[in-house]
Amino acid sequence: MQDDIDRWMKELKKGATKFSILALLRDGDMYGYELRHEVEARTEGAMTLTESNAYPSLHGMESEGLITSYWKESGSGVPARKYYHLTEKGEDLLNEMVVEWDRYVNAMNRIGRRKDGNQ
């Protein structure tokens, strides 16, 4: 049972990675670890962005033109960090995603509930 749920959640989260990254970058430029940390903090641990999810997705999104990147020194012996910036194209996509996401969640909620309204 737990395995089934885990597998299902994994599928669900796959689609959520792109959405969360775009949404977080709307608030300002961020570097990879910061994005990962923010996702976890804002969802109170319900969602995590693993390295294997985050960095390859960021690369893919950059080649799609949804985000751009630049290196910035952070000083004090820490290596430079790669920051990501939301492009106009990325913002347009995000706006559409938000609409579709709401529609989808509502639809799923209506299906998930029993017809007589009981849980």
Binding site: Y33, R36, N53, Y55, P56, H59, G60, G77, R81, K82
Partner: protein, 229 residues
């Protein structure tokens, strides 16, 4: 925050382990390397802060690695993210590569068939050394040729991802998800190469129907793509 030499070495080792399985241009590799190192430094710094230390040590790195993704998984996901942007090799370059490979395979077959030919020479009446079409020797050489073709393509593509012909043209066989192809994939996509009619038909169908993906039908079956570096 400061970071100890040991800690940095561990991080670099981890990043190198991931990079080993990522087959992309050198400049991209450097970017990925730097970003992964920066990620692990940040993750380890958080661990060091949590234990109240002012310097990142090996223990912090080890503890950051505990909750970190598998190196193989990261590499595989990176390759998948490249799959879409990889340049697919077209008919012409693949045809050239195939021509080179055919020459090599023919030479290999002749070398391996030489004992058969020699046997024919020694067992036939003086002066009659022709191997006539449809004779048993003719079939033997054909079968040998098929075995050489199969082993040559399957071993080269399954082990290296390319044959000598593909190497010359800068081509490589990958799984459709961007990861390295193995023997199973190599075997499936080699099948039509055993029958000249089949490989010609497969190539024609590729041009007619799968223009964008540049996959033969047997590439589809094997789940492979051919890319140009």
């Amino acid at each position: 925050m400061e970071i100890s030499e040991d800690a940095m070495k561990m991080i670099e080792k981890r990043a190198n382990k991931i990079l080993k399985d990522i087959d992309v241009p050198e400049s991209d590799k450097n970017e990925i390397m730097r970003e992964l190192i920066s990620n692990y430094v940040d993750a380890s710094t958080v661990k060091a802060q949590a234990r109240g230390a002012s310097r990142v040590e090996g223990v912090d790195v080890a503890s950051a690695f505990e909750t970190s993704s598998d190196p193989e998984e990261i590499a595989s996901m990176y390759m998948a993210s490249y799959a879409k942007s990889l340049k697919r090799a077209g008919l012409l370059s693949r045809l050239f590569a195939y021509a080179i490979d055919t020459v090599i395979v023919t030479i290999l077959t002749v070398i391996m068939a030489s004992p058969i030919i020699a046997l024919r020479i020694f067992t036939s009446p003086a002066g009659n050394i022709r191997i006539t079409i449809f004779s048993e020797y003719f079939y033997l050489i054909i079968y040998l040729n098929l075995i050489v073709i199969f082993i040559y393509f399957v071993v080269c593509e399954g082990f290296f991802g390319f044959t000598p012909g593909k190497w010359v043209l800068g081509l490589k066989v990958l799984r459709a998800d961007g990861n390295t192809a193995g023997y199973k994939e190599a075997m499936l996509r080699t099948i039509p190469k055993l029958f000249i009619v089949a490989i010609v038909a497969d190539a024609i169908l590729m041009v007619l129907y799968h223009g964008k993906d540049k996959q033969r039908i047997f590439d589809r079956i094997a789940g492979t793509i051919v890319i140009r570096k």
